[in-house]
């Protein structure tokens, strides 16, 4: 964003806060106008926050609530179980209450443990997703597990290197993983080691590249049929 544009947005927001919405609406460039509107919303929200500062009583109540131990989420509990059974596999820093971050090394054994252990009993693999975290960083596989017996669910994330993405296959642990992993392989090129039939599932076998990666480039022709690329400057 140029300085000129920033100045324009700032002026317009100030005017709008004083009740002159026209200043924002009259900006001709569409992008600048939407940015100005976003800035206006932000400014209004901040103004509302400062005016509704909580009183001292409320503050003391809040601090009392904070001192109580927060109950661990299921993901954190299961992460603890995995860490005790398989030391060094859980990435504690990246794990949170919403997911468990694992190292790929012992994933197959962990998966079997999660399925069979009476405290876990994750008998259904609901989804396997690949995620491209951006051109500079790594690829990630995410597993959503659910237990019919305990009616609880967790999410497991495993990172793998972009230039050589390899993750152990859990196709033999949960059979539904067969197609899930094939699809993830098809779209992201993540190789699931130990998968008995790792082929593309949606795209033709002779397709080039991995379409859902951020750095994917559409191939120019397919069996002599021209594949048009995205036109530049299109909005």
């Amino acid at each position: 964003m140029t300085d000129n544009q920033e100045m324009l947005i700032q002026e317009a927001v100030e005017k709008a806060l004083q009740g002159d919405m026209e200043a924002v609406n009259n900006i001709e460039d569409r992008v600048t106008r939407s940015k100005a509107k976003a800035a206006l919303v932000k400014a209004k929200r901040e103004a509302a926050k400062t005016s509704a500062e909580p009183s001292s009583e409320e503050k003391s109540e809040e601090s009392a609530a904070e001192s109580k131990p927060v109950p661990l989420s299921l993901n954190q509990k299961i992460a603890g179980i995995i860490a005790s059974q398989f030391p060094g596999t859980v990435d504690e820093e990246s794990s949170s209450e919403t997911h468990i971050q694992l190292q790929p090394a012992k994933w197959f054994d962990i998966a079997q443990y999660l399925r069979d252990d009476p405290a876990c009993l994750f008998d259904s693999l609901q989804c396997v997703t690949g995620v491209d975290l951006g051109e500079e960083s790594e690829l990630e596989v995410r597993y959503n597990l659910h237990s019919m017996t305990h009616r609880h669910a967790i999410e497991i994330r495993i990172e793998c290197a972009r230039n050589n993405p390899k993750v152990p296959s859990v196709e033999t642990v949960w059979h539904i993983g067969d197609w899930f992993e094939r699809e993830t392989y098809d779209m992201f090129g993540i190789e699931f080691e130990g998968h008995r039939d790792l082929r593309r599932i949606l795209l033709p076998d002779d397709w080039e590249g991995w379409p859902l990666r951020k750095d994917y480039e559409v191939q120019e022709t397919y069996h002599g049929i021209v594949v048009p690329k995205v036109k530049e400057g299109w909005e």
């Binding site: 795209l203 033709p204 379409p211 994917y216 069996h223 049929i225 048009p228 995205v230």
Partner: protein, 163 residues
């Protein structure tokens, strides 16, 4: 009919063989029954009892060998494009192709960012009638089929073409 007038009984019709062939072929274009996407739902609705394609002589056939018309109903992916081409090649001459809906005609909503979508089925097979719509209503499809029938009727397969 000039010299032939009143020379035959009432139940005899006289016409040139070309016209007769055109009439016969245009009123029974059997279509190849396969759908690729949501357009196929409209095609099924057209073939079903309310719109009843059978009344204009169109019978769905499940084999390309028995079909005269191929209705490409839906999004053609690049993977399917090769198969569409192969199916077209398996049909017996004379054969016709109807491109039904935006996707088959130009790629439709995927015309730019669909990396795996064929941008128009006319890139792989010659198309006779294009039907716009997303998806086209049965009325549109019938209109397109009637246009195709007109085209078939106007053909003169036995007439020698002069340069």
């Amino acid at each position: 009919m000039g010299v032939f007038e009143n020379k035959f009984h009432d139940n005899v019709v006289i016409a040139s063989l070309d016209k007769l062939l055109g009439w016969a072929r245009s009123t029974s274009p059997w279509f190849f029954q396969f759908g690729l996407a949501c357009c196929a739902i409209e095609m099924m609705a057209t073939a079903a009892s309310r719109h009843d394609l059978m009344r204009i002589g169109m019978i769905p056939r499940s084999s390309p060998r028995q079909a005269d018309v191929m209705i490409v109903a839906g999004t053609v992916t690049l993977k399917m494009a090769l198969r569409v081409k192969k199916l077209y090649e398996q049909m017996a001459n004379p054969k016709y192709v109807i491109s039904m809906g935006s996707c088959a005609t130009s790629g439709g909503p995927y015309w730019q960012h669909g990396y795996h979508v064929l941008k128009g089925v006319d890139l792989v097979v010659p198309v006779d009638v294009y039907i716009p719509g997303c998806p086209p209503r049965p009325e549109s499809l019938i209109e397109g089929l009637l246009k195709l029938q007109e085209k078939i009727q106007s053909e003169r397969p036995l007439t020698r073409k002069t340069a």
